[in-house]
Symmetry: C2
Subunit: 202 residues, 2 copies
DNA sequence: AAAATCATAGAACATATGTTTGCAATATTT
DNA sequence: AAATATTGCAAACATATGTTCTATGATTTT
């Protein structure tokens, strides 16, 4: 009796295997770990899961199953905000992070390490890693990563975005700091919207 | 002339391949995509990268290279802090999250959704998911998840841990709230130490 | 310039792993 | 109860893919 429960167990095993090992299991891995006696059985399970849409799998290829709607996305850490212009160059990729896709949807995400205290009253602390969705526009009140070029100030910053009297205002969430209204408004480029953050204490 | 630059290109290709496909490339994939003429050459590159510590790879296994510093841990979301006693029962598992292992090391981790504003001045907001390492003791000043039973107050809370005059003090990081010094000190159980958090805006 | 080392290639080899086949046991339908 | 379909197994098979071998030209060293 091929209960759906059993199939879900198998699917869960495959997920866990990939998470722990970095690559998918073989049918023989499945046999060993799930107490299946024949590779044909494991093979069959995989095909059922594929038929039900839970797995993707190329025929013949070894170790090439992929869990659909995988619970995680790999997101590159691109650099530090406030430290020049490291964001655009892919060369500055400092590694990948795996985030739960359910929480952080979107095509084009990246991480930035936050430097400074300018958003501390929005709960964004020095050293936090913010999760940014790349986009070039923003709504009033959203927290964005933006670049502008103003002689005095330069580089990328995290700020809350406002449009006031036709001008873009970059508002730090820190009562000791003043709003930034870049003189050269045309130089302002929004790099993305902050959709989350990760912090590591200890 | 095997420049280090070339090797880094290869490493980056492997990263990207895994990112896009969900499983690692074969030496023949590498040949095709990197304009390498012989599988032996690709094989050689992989071994160099392994020798330099950039890759992990089990011998003989197919598609089993892993880029170092990319691995992740699956961490269960066990419930909400401040809402009764949901933490101890594994039945309350609400799903798994995949976190970067590099950041959040440790054997026994779990997530809790934070309810309330009691740690807001430590940058922990209502709705945040805190990452907790299970342990039964704590050092002065650490943020912990603790349970105690005091008639009035009950259940699990996140607080900063202090020991003052032999008594355990649970200090909320919120200037509108008072320290908690449970009368029944013996009932205090530390469930774990907060080692990080995740927040999802938007 | 000769010798030695190194990087790459082509081809053959070895095997881990996907796939197929046929059979026995169990469940489901007639 | 017989017939039919379903499930799981063992074993064989096919091949995608890791690995080794030898050769050749390019660099570096002597």
């Amino acid at each position: 009796m091929i209960s759906q429960d059993r199939l879900m167990e198998v699917l869960d095993y495959i997920r866990r295997f990939i998470d722990e090992n970095g690559f998918p299991p073989t049918v023989r891995d499945m046999c060993r770990d799930l107490n299946i006696k024949s590779t044909a059985t494991a093979y069959d399970y995989v095909n059922r899961l594929k038929a039900q849409g839970y797995l993707e799998k190329a025929e013949k290829k070894k170790r090439a199953v992929v869990v659909r709607g995988t619970s995680s996305v790999r997101v590159p850490l691109l650099g530090v905000v406030n430290a020049g212009q490291p964001i655009l160059a892919i060369e500055h990729n400092e590694g990948y992070y795996t985030l739960p896709e359910a929480e952080f949807k979107g095509d084009d995400l990246f991480l930035l390490r936050v430097h400074g205290e300018s958003m501390i009253e929005a709960g964004i602390y020095d050293g936090d890693k913010i999760i940014v969705r790349r986009q070039e526009t923003a709504e009033n009140g959203e927290i964005v990563v933006a670049m502008f070029n103003d002689g005095t100030e330069d580089g990328a910053t995290v700020k809350r975005f406002y449009k006031r009297d036709g001008s873009i205002v970059l508002h730090p969430e820190n009562s000791t700091m003043d709003d930034i209204v870049p003189e050269n408004q045309d130089s302002i480029r929004i790099l993305g919207k902050v959709i989350g953050l990760m912090r590591s204490l200890s």
